[in-house]
Amino acid sequence: MVSKLKVDSLNVFYDYCHVLKNVSLEVDANEILGIIGPANSGKTSFLKTLNRMNDFDHTFKMDGNIFLDNKNIFTNMQALALRKRIGMVFALPLSLPLSIFDNVAYGPRLHGQKNKTKLKEIVERGLKASYLWDEVKDRLDTPALNLSGGQQQRLCISRTLAVEPEVILYDEPCSGLDPISTAKVEEAMRQLRKNYTQILVTNNTKQSARVADRTAFFLMGELIEIGLTAKVFTQPDDKRTDDYISGRFG
């Protein structure tokens, strides 16, 4: 089987600060890859490199290669086209100060969708996929910022889905959420596995254990270990992974 995403000896620097050191890994289609590790271990930098959100950072430098469906994302693809295929859900639920409907329709409109009925369909499909539809269907034109944190985060997932990406990156999507909202977001992720490849960066190791098929452990910019979640959590190869998971540091 050909991997969806392939990262080949990736090094990332910010202002000569070496934040990712020679990271290589592959992500299969339709899997959820969990990425765990203590703060400042390079997890978020890794995500941002995957959809080239670092392009705007003047201090950002890198070498190595990343392939999406065997195409090099830096040399063989435009950043905008790449970001349409690799969507991102941020740590805080970043609703735009627009209505619920307009938040979800923002992406499709960017990409030229003007047909009202089509937009309605896309919005409904997106909200249903993140299990938000039933809670908001009667107030689509109210401000998104009135929603609760958990609802907003699922709205952000819907917004990402509306662009019809192939890969979804989550940057600590549940960091500010209560357990019930977290459970709903996690359930949405499990359901989305049918159609999407997902990469989940999380500070909460248990979350990776609950939803990820495979888990990768980052430490100080290095990929220490990657493997099936059950194995990484029960019989890690590296002592540092064991220490982190069992809470001895981090």
Binding site: L80, L94, Y106
Partner: protein, 282 residues
Amino acid sequence: MGDPKKIQKLMFFLLLLATIIIIVPVVAIFAIILFHGLPALNWGFIFGMPREGMRAGGIFPTIIGTLYLTLGTMAFSLPLGVLAAIYLTEYAAENWLTRLIEISIINLAGIPSIVYGLFGLGLFVMFLNFGASILAGSLTLAIMTLPVIVTASREALITVPKSFREVSYSLGASRWQTVWGVVLPNAIPGILTGTILGLSRAAGETAPILFTVAAFYLPALPRSIFDQAMVLPYHIYVLSTQVPNVPAKIQYGTILVLVLFVFIMNISAAFLRAHFRKRKLW
């Protein structure tokens, strides 16, 4: 003497005294203008034409002239200023060009208004052959207000959270789509406030319009942007130094109208700011 507590008391009293000496004349000026100007205000004064060598009648043409000039100024300086601010906040890298632009803006803000008048005369009136006209005057005032609008718009754009831009980019938006879709709509209140304040300064300026648009007296209202116009600030200059024996009532009335014109703009800017601050959701 020598007791620090006593010295402090004395010094604080002196500071207060200095502040009062600054503030009291401000209040007095407004009181004088209101006291002498209010009796002149009536419909005939505002909507009438000047009569008897401007010693009687109304000042309607000067109000219309100032209005045209303010709108003309806005038509040029608002788009230019906002686009320049967008360049500086959303596009410019930290390099020598950006620094050069910033220095230019700071220096534009410091150039004396009469020098703008000279420049407007040289470039718009003479070189481009617009003649003394509303067009030439508006362009001159637009250049003069540009630094204010750029600075205010920049501040408004910078306060839009970076995260909004990130969301937009993450959905595959281009830079311009991001500016248009999320940055600009959230910066509009700040931009408008700054623009109105800049225009209120322009509306009260005399020196830049002396040779570019202002007319001593015109029997009719201006009909096109290539016409000269009578303007409130210049009219005050005329009434107070060029025409003998103008009744004080007419002088103060004209001053009150200009002050009101400027203050209505200032107050609406303040109101706008307060209104949007209350509604702000992030």
